[in-house]
């Protein structure tokens, strides 16, 4: 995995942690889906994902006044940073959190353990096939 892909995985994991009721997102699933996107999604989408993760990493100074990358923050502070970035007055900054939630939501919401905890039917495989004749 390239560093920017690993960073994207990390930030998505921060966005969708486990709670008392819901299990953590399956790391392997997250990795596989991020890699799938990196392989197949349009360039624009990949760049938007990496840029959003990078902005999340570098902006705690703008949201909670800590001149540190988000990796150095404890979970509570990091979540406060995320919540403030999501409500930031600069439109493009808060759109980066939308991007993280859109991509992360698509992976987290398909996780079989999360779905089972919410009494949702597990998804089967996406066949990815099409008619050839």
């Amino acid at each position: 995995m390239k560093p920017w892909q690993a960073l994207s995985c990390r930030v998505l994991e921060w966005a969708f942690p486990s709670t008392d009721r819901l299990p953590p997102m399956d790391r392997q699933l997250l990795r596989d889906r991020v890699l799938l996107m990196c392989r197949e999604a349009p360039f624009k989408m990949r760049v938007a994902l990496y840029a959003s993760a990078l902005i999340f990493l570098l902006t705690p100074v703008l949201t909670i006044g800590r001149p540190l990358p988000a990796t150095w923050l404890g979970p509570k502070l990091r979540e406060r940073h995320g919540a403030r970035l999501a409500r930031h007055r600069v439109y493009i900054l808060r759109q980066t959190v939308v991007m993280l939630k859109v991509v992360g939501g698509m992976i987290w919401g398909a996780d079989p353990a999360v779905r089972s905890a919410l009494q949702l039917r597990p998804y089967g495989e996406d066949p990815g096939t099409w008619r050839t004749s």
Partner: protein, 513 residues
């Protein structure tokens, strides 16, 4: 449903590699969505040899994805990443698959309102799109696409509470009419109907065309309309692999009688531009029904995905202030972006998913934008809802919030920047005074119109009253891009009827000559 008699069989060709592939047909249709399939089927029924080229692959219900990520990859254009450019970013959801948006839509069917036809008549289009002609086409479509009111398992608690809340507020309320046969209410229309209930054109009109001898090309993006001496003589394109997106063989199709473009409101104008057509109004007149949803959180389970995603609606406010209200089930994966917070508060909010109901307002927007071919060939849509549109949306979300509380919700999630993430019944003043700035609202665009609009005046339109492109012989536009106004109702039925009326006319004229 369409019952097919076996006649001469057509053929289907998907992604091809190797030398240039050449074809010939009476009519060539570009795009297999609502407009293209309706026009193509009408011409095939009239006995013409038709070739239809679709940029996306042909997926059967068993090929459809299960997950939303799979739908983004396999069915949605550009993975759902097309957005407007303007004073805010609005996602534009379109399809890139056989069946176009009919494959991913909710299959709501609404007849063209009389006031829309009268408005078109005032633009000089009344002779062609009469109530009678449109009504006849829509009768036929109702039959072919098994149109019926949502009922039984298609309803489910989300749709039922929506109806009851409307009635409690003395609003017009109805179960939606839908093009679905024996819908079991799996709530998965956006991912394509794996239950073979939804009558999207990839399982109805396109197979019918093939049965009637048509050639269908899939994975076949058309790059240019082939023009010779002011006449459309065919199309040129290049097969593209749906997975690797690698280009394959080039293809050329000669059209003996004409070319019909139905590449959607975001695709048609850029394709005409790419083909060298220079008309002053090309790309202009882009309109839409931008919409937004509001989530209600209820004390007990709603199970939003039980029932069809959009089984009930109201046209109470269609004329004034100009919006349609609908129930809307969103999968867990999509709702995640609508819940406030980040990390633990976000996931804790999502724990209530099974107690959530989502309802939406689609605005008959006054905004007019444009669509152009971008530098790398992608459509560039410039579009910003006006202040009046924002006022309408705000009124719509307020109405929906009140309906949620009427239905027993304990809170609503407005998804509006600057407002608390969660509002209780006593907090609605926040919504009433929500900022009228596009950047504060979470819009989405699914009903699009224009870019190659019809009209009587070549200076203010791209196609004439018979949908023929001004100044080019034998070239027609038969999709949403030709519609000169918004409708205030779901557009599929109107687009299909318009395409059928024009194709029938073409067929009759050709037969006479």
């Amino acid at each position: 449903m369409i019952q097919l008699q076996t006649q001469r069989r057509g053929r289907h060709l998907a992604y091809q590699e190797g030398p240039v592939q050449e074809f010939e047909a009476d009519y060539v249709v570009v795009g297999s969505g609502a407009g293209g399939a309706a026009a193509g089927a009408t011409l095939a029924r009239a006995g013409f040899e038709v070739l239809l080229a679709e940029r996306g692959p042909w997926r059967r219900p068993e090929d459809y994805p299960e997950t939303t990520l799979g739908a983004a990859r396999d069915l949605w254009a550009d993975w759902g990443q097309l957005t407007t450019r303007g004073n805010s970013i609005i996602p534009i959801l379109q399809a890139s698959v056989m069946g176009g948006c009919t494959t991913i839509n909710s299959a709501i069917i609404v007849r063209t309102p009389g006031d829309v036809l009268r408005e078109w008549a005032s633009l000089g289009l009344g002779e062609v799109f009469t109530e009678e002609a449109m009504g006849t086409a829509q009768d036929r479509l109702d039959h072919d696409l098994s149109v019926a009111a949502s009922s039984g398992p298609a309803m489910g608690p989300n749709n039922n509470i929506f109806l009851e809340s409307l009635k409690a507020r003395n609003r017009e309320a109805h179960p939606t009419q839908r093009a679905a046969h024996a819908c079991v209410g799996s709530g998965q229309c956006l991912q394509g109907c794996r239950n073979k209930a939804k009558q999207s054109t990839n399982v109805t009109l396109v197979p019918e065309m093939m049965q009637r001898g048509a050639t269908i090309l899939s994975c076949a993006p058309v790059q240019k309309v082939w023009l010779e001496k002011g006449k459309a003589v065919g199309i040129k394109g290049r097969f593209r692999h749906p997975r690797s997106r690698r280009f394959g063989a080039s293809f050329k199709v000669r059209a003996r009688r004409g070319v019909l473009i139905a590449a959607s409101a975001t695709g048609t104008a850029p394709l005409l531009q790419q083909s060298g057509i220079k008309l002053p109004y090309l790309g202009e007149g882009f309109r839409g029904h931008p919409g937004a949803g509001i989530v209600g959180v209820y004390p007990s389970a709603i199970k939003m995905l039980e029932g069809t995603p959009q089984g009930s609606a109201s046209i109470h406010f269609r004329q004034s202030p100009g919006m349609k209200l609908e129930s809307l089930a969103l999968p867990l994966e999509v709702i995640a972006s609508r819940v406030g917070g980040f990390g633990t508060p976000l996931v804790e909010g999502l724990e209530a998913y099974q107690r959530m109901a989502c309802w939406c307002a689609a605005i008959r927007a006054k905004a007019v934008g444009s669509v152009r071919r971008g530098f790398t060939g992608e459509p560039v849509v410039r579009y910003s809802p006006t202040k009046e549109d924002l006022e309408t949306l705000r009124a719509g979300l307020l109405e929906l919030a009140q309906m949620h509380f009427e239905g027993g919700a304990e809170a609503v999630l407005p998804g509006v920047h600057g407002l608390p993430a969660k509002l209780g019944p006593a907090d609605l003043h926040h919504l009433e005074n929500a900022p009228l700035s596009n950047k504060s609202w979470t819009w989405v665009l699914t009903h699009l119109f224009g870019g190659a609009v019809m009209g009587a005046d070549p200076a203010r339109s791209v196609v004439g009253p018979h949908l023929h492109v001004w100044g080019v012989e034998r070239l027609h536009v038969v999709d949403a891009s030709a519609l000169p106004t918004t409708l205030g109702v779901n557009p599929q039925h109107t687009i299909m009827a318009v395409a059928m009326v024009v194709a029938e006319r073409l067929a009759n004229e050709e037969k006479k000559s």
